[in-house]
Point group: C2
Chain length 193, copies 2
């Protein structure tokens, strides 16, 4: 089978297998998502990218005419989430975080305007969610925006307990290629299950 980019499916899988073998098992959620998104793009399934880190540039040097070196810059608070793109004609938008706790996910890890952003996306017909990995438990969940909002509206707590994920989120099962096959869950969300 050939994909629109002219590369054979077998060759793509071979490439990703090698990438996975090179890396140790301690891959971060971010690098696994980047690799999974790259895989989705190569098989022409979805076009979802991580946005660049937002920074404020203060000073730029030009040692030569064509070259620019940023000499002073600061990290700024992102206005939106880290990932967005298109899948099956739908607008996809999510934030991904790792949690070292075995019992809960601390809400302080997500900026309030990012939560508001996800709500806006959901209200306008996009697919919005969080991907949260509990690294000590080796459990990764996709929490749809509506379930997040439901939690926030009913509770005054500063963290979401693991049980809320187990009962209301979707477990993303470990897979080989891609390593985080979250679009399988998005298929269920689109199907309305």
């Amino acid at each position: 089978m050939n994909y629109p980019n002219g590369i054979k499916k077998e060759n793509i899988q071979e490439k990703f297998k090698k990438e996975i073998n090179y890396k140790n098992r301690g891959m971060t959620l971010e690098s696994e998502l980047n690799s999974s998104n790259e895989y989705y793009r190569e098989i022409d399934k979805a076009y979802i990218y991580k946005k660049p880190t937002p920074i404020k540039i203060v000073k730029v040097d030009y040692p030569s005419r064509d070259k620019a070196v940023i000499k002073e810059a600061y990290f700024t608070i992102p206005s939106t989430t880290d990932y967005n793109g298109i899948y099956k004609g739908k607008y996809i938008d999510f934030e991904a975080k790792e949690s070292k706790s075995k019992t809960s996910f601390t809400l302080a890890n997500i900026h309030p305007h990012q939560i508001k952003h996800l709500e806006n996306i959901d209200r306008h017909g996009g697919i919005a969610f969080l991907i949260i990995r509990f690294t000590m438990l080796n459990e990764t969940y996709l929490l749809p925006e509506k379930k997040l909002r439901n939690f926030l509206e009913k509770r005054e707590r500063k963290s979401i307990p693991i049980d809320y994920f187990r009962n209301n989120a979707y477990l993303i099962k470990d897979s080989y290629i891609p390593t985080v096959d979250y679009l399988k869950i998005v298929d269920q969300l689109i199907g309305g299950i």
Copy 2:
């Protein structure tokens, strides 16, 4: 009339009027698009953002525990376009450029993988386009991805003549609030006109 964020429509218009009055008439296309997108968000019409500038960070200093200063970084080639978001449930994706020429737009201003990206988005059901402003002519066009592809497939030229825009693109008429009301054109694209 009140918007979901609780702000009255009149107050939002007042705010944007003031912003426009502060600025001179030489606003760049980028700042006008940012202001228009902000207006669309405030009236809860669309959620479209400019992506941060992609850079490669080489060196970061930590003068104090909470503070990080980037001391060495480089601009990198963007993997996608500058703007994306959601409107009427549709995925929107575009690149915007100014041209100082009175006769044509030089294609070297758009990276080949950005053109490929727009094609991918269109094929997957998103709304993909270029916004090109001819600053000397004070004419701003929205060129749908299909019309761009049509030009590229039929011609071996390195620039798109102004007449191609006049005959195949949509003129975005000057407006007051927002200054670049490109969603009016997107309405036509969605309507299939």
